[in-house]
Symmetry: D2
Subunit: 397 residues, 4 copies
């Protein structure tokens, strides 16, 4: 249905068991240094408590794999479906998203027990899984990887909004070094967009189609903190003329003055990272900006953001484009490709129903799990969101 | 700047004076049968009091034409700039949009005096206007025409939300007859989008560029009330699966059950029009649906809305496409064309800053003034808006 | 039921007809200089459009007198009950209070026709009215007088929040002169509270009962603008310590800096009155303060407000107490007197259901109609309301 | 200042150390069976996370006793003042009340370390405390006891709003048995109100004064669940006529249908207690009703609630009045007694600033700590609050 079919053979099965265990373990690795209390809170609706992510990803395997496909499987706890369900409205009543942070039970220990119970059944199940389930299993693994990135962004939000600004060790996130690359030019012409490989992709990458592009040159480097500070110094947040109408309202209602996690302390800019509160590094790519900010910055520079089609074409046709440090806001709304169809049933709710009011981000970030990035990947968020590892790339001249 | 230049000659000037007077008179014609009280109220933030439209369009001429270009011009009243200013943040402080309905003064009579005063000066001014002002004058005339359509939609909202459901005579709006046409097919290939003529167009139609389209067939007729009722009967408003996530939230928060102005009376559907409250006509094209509703209807039918590029190509290349009864929601977000640039100064705020969170509508409606419609015209509203004369056209198969 | 019975005789009847006509005429006199537009708007939920007051008081006579007591009476318009009903939930569905300002129809002319129609029937009816209806008729007259005061306060709000600050002639409101009187002392002891006369009173004045008072001295004069300015100058609105917790939240949420209608213009205080925007008169009693402000002012002075029992006792037992310029906030919550009972039916909703979350005001104001004031009268508003003609009297020492 | 002075002697000091340790230990006893996660969440603004109560009561001792009075005392952590401060605006910037539930740090273990650190210093300090500190120490102990009751009500809210409805052992809360007593009559006359002993009392009990009461008979028993169910069955929540205007709005906005923690399961009423979800016991006194509900219930019965003066007089003069199971809503607003004065400084903020918009409750509840109840005690909450152990006592006939 959603994916190019794969041929299943013994090595594929073994590979699956292995990948399942690695990915599930990595989820828990991300949480290794959390205190129990850190798993529980939900400071804003966008952020889910870490224990919810741990439970929700587990519930996905239980609900969509074990219950329908493992004969005789007993669910771990009948109320967990209610607690850990998400936006899948076709699988029963949802917990209101904003209420997740009110739930002290199930405890963190209960959730880890739930994970162990499901993992045990999954490992047994995967050893003998039917080849035609591979697309579903692949979806589950990619779903878990998506929540790995959300775990990192949500943990950062929870700790970064605590008045104690606690530092914490977070695997593989030290990379804030500058990544200068060469500018990349796309020639005018017709290009093909969408995933054409035979591995996994999400449904929103399908509907391969042609687009016509004018000649475009993408900057080789992302905008740095120093460049963004120049926008702040120039009064970027004070002048309506740089902003979209909605963006200007957002700036004023929320008194936005800088990227998320930036704090002005006696005239200097500090930023919260997993290392605690430290001075902003001028050469690192700016992070945690909203689309409104990226767009205003571009207008201030007299430049613009690329479209998702320009970005994908540059990334696919030019191996020299360096990307992966920050999700890059594009000037494309998140809309279906021609020929996009919604799959039947719950898994089919996956992406299509969010195709309204969101902007596409391309690339990946330092929080994206290894092996989860693709040049055709379409990430998407509302234009006011800052809590992902988002950055800015300019179209030149 | 925004427009292809025109050569000015005596007949052009006479034509301008004439057009100015006709368009200004038409604005007042729309209000001819209003009671004084109808000019004043603002039931929701989207709807402006009719007297505000009358004043605001006049303020546009005064501020952008007479003050800078007519030597010695004395403004009518110094506070009117404050009261009738709009989204033009570069021209001083705005009246908060939601407060317009609190202002009993200036009175309706004052506003008509203001119009007469400005018209008198404009007529004198136009008789000797410089040819290089024609683009600005054209913009003013088109601005006034846009507000003519808003006057009609806002008057309808004001009267249609009054418990007395008053009927009123409204010029040229009797056309609710069905408009069946032949389906139109666009062949796969590269097409050019944007305004290429030498008359007036808005800045958002410029940035002529190529797009690549797959073969597409647009329905010859708009969706009728009868067809839409089938969606309602089938539980369209009760099943989340037809709806975008934001749309489903909108349905539930606002308890939406039908297009705007529809009322169920003892099992039958009635609709408010300028003729009062009457039974819904099955064969007329459905009107006053939001993008969310148009999109959900399409998904329920297993079809989809056209993109603005498919629509424009069909309308430009096939004269047989019948359009103009309803603004047609497209599946395109309102974004800049490649090469779009924002003009300097206040008039330049015109369109670009709304390019976020809105969907494009194409065509025109029975409320659109004569001579204001073009196949390249890009109208846009947030996806939850119902109060314009909006309808639905399907892509076949 | 609510009132001491009166003996009806011919002169009483004539007196009633006369009083009815005088009071009804006075209502219209208050509106004499309004523009049609001024009758329509509702800037905040507390303020009703003047045409609503005109219709609502008329609806009271129609609904509670003519319909039940005048055989064969035909109501003027069946929808008016819906439009002009108020908080009387037992008489059908209400128009939501905040929606009154959206209704352009019925027009002002319609409302005056409604008044004329009802007045004509009432005059005929009153000439032969049964003596046992006198309490109901008295209630209707007092109800109309209450709305006369509300008409004045609401018209002031509408015009005083218009950027043009229009002046208007308002009968009998010129009295802002200082009214110095002698302080009045109440001796310690038991006093009787409540209305004991044989004229009209509201239900909330009944339940005559004893209270025990300590010795108390009430100031002879109300707090003046000059005295209140000293509070402002002393940082009264900046220091939480003067304020009740709810009051401090109110100050901060609404950015309150001064009484309603005060504007600081280049360092000087101006105030809107029916004469337009003029400098604050230092010797006039301060007006348009909330209970929170009156209470904070008192705490800043190290004094306190009187209770309603102290106030009534002083006013009843000391004719030298000068009152009537401002409604005086007391430090008494609006609660039932011992033995208070709610009358059956709609008229019985009159006062009792508001006995929660409101504070009692005693006295009367320059906006109170002649003959409507009594020392036992209990007015009441929420502690944040400023739009009535409210002032401050201190308890000495 | 706030209290009658005590003579300090050695036994008093020993008694204080003992009482301090007992009360502090009891606070922790209440939390003995919580999971770490239960300490963290804040489902509504009224409810504080248990760890906040543990920290806040400790902060009180540190800030008001140790810092000013123990020479050389080092505060435990400089940020804790920020985190655990409360409504004491005079002691620095507050954490916004609604944000308490977002704070995962300090951890529960940190908070217990904070308690141990302060307790150790307090024990040393108390052994040699100056006699003139006794009022302050007494205030601290009573403050801690107040938070003990809040701990119980807040833990109940947290667990009772979890979809798993967890049961938990809570010391000394098994008493839901009926408590029938004899009706008590207060004779008409003058009575003295307020605390006149020489132990501890809160500032709001001072200002001893006389009141005049009519003869009143208070019911001997609280209203039972069975009696309250009769109100529900009779459509009590459906008919506006029983409700105060604000109460009726509250019922409709929040869809209130029963006391807090009641759930209708297949036609039967269940209630959450610390024993989990079980059928409502008909004979137990109704619990967790708002003032609006108590008042509506009384109006439905044709009875009324007592005033706080009737209640106190009955309790002081009749030892046979049985009270202490439920806080009893009175028909008295929370206002200062004559002669009430606010103490200087932070501790003086204690009670006075809440004297607006709240109703007085008298008595005590099963959640009130031993030794904390007095017949003159004035508890107070907004009229819509249900989460305290609140009940209803009627005035007879
Ligand atoms: Fe998910
Ligand atoms: Fe405009
Ligand atoms: Fe009324
Ligand atoms: Fe406290």
């Amino acid at each position: 249905f959603l994916f190019t079919m794969l041929v299943l053979n013994p090595s594929a099965t073994a590979f699956l068991v292995d990948r399942y265990q690695q990915i599930r373990a990595h989820t828990e690795l991300i949480c290794r240094h959390l205190e129990t209390e850190d798993y529980v809170v939900q400071p804003i609706a966008d952020v889910s408590p870490p224990k919810w992510h741990l439970g929700h990803t587990t519930w996905f395997w239980e609900t969509f794999v074990l219950v329908p496909h493992l004969p005789g499987y007993q669910i771990f706890h009948e109320d967990f479906s209610f607690v850990f369900n998400s936006y899948y409205e076709s699988v029963g009543r949802r917990v209101l998203r904003t209420n997740r942070g009110n739930l002290s039970r199930p405890t963190v220990a209960d959730v880890y027990r739930y994970r162990a119970y499901v993992d045990e059944h999954m490992s047994r199940f995967l050893a003998e899984a039917d080849s035609n389930l591979i697309p579903l299993l692949d979806l589950g693994l990619n779903h878990e990887q998506q929540h790995q990135e959300l775990l990192i962004t949500d943990i950062k939000y929870i700790l970064g909004h605590n008045p104690l600004f606690p530092a914490i060790e977070m695997p593989a996130l030290s990379d804030t070094s500058p990544a200068a690359g060469k500018a990349v030019t796309v020639q005018e012409g017709v290009y093909t967009i969408g995933y054409q490989g035979n591995g996994f992709c999400f449904d929103n990458e399908l509907g391969v189609h042609n687009v016509y592009l004018n000649e475009t040159t993408l900057a080789g480097s992302l905008i740095t903190n120093a460049e963004y500070m120049a926008f702040i110094e120039a009064g970027g947040y004070q002048h309506f003329r740089y902003w979209l109408s909605d963006g200007w309202a957002w700036v004023n209602v929320h008194h936005v003055q800088a990227p998320l996690y930036w704090h002005r302390v006696e005239g200097d800019w500090y930023v919260y990272t997993f290392d605690g509160l430290n001075p902003v590094e001028p050469d690192a790519p700016v992070c945690h900006v909203s689309y409104y900010e990226a767009d205003a910055f571009a207008r201030w520079r007299g430049q613009r953001l690329p479209t998702e089609f320009e970005w994908e074409t540059a990334a696919v046709h030019n191996e020299s484009l360096r990307w992966g440090q920050r999700w890059e806001w594009t000037n494309s709304a998140y809309l279906p490709y021609p020929g996009f169809t919604t799959a039947d049933g719950a898994v089919g709710e996956y992406n299509g129903k969010f195709m309204s009011g969101q902007m596409v981000l391309r690339g990946a970030s330092v929080a994206t799990p290894d092996g989860h990035a693709r040049p055709t990947y379409r990430n998407f968020f509302q234009p006011d969101k800052q809590w992902q590892f988002t950055g800015i790339r300019m179209v030149m001249g």
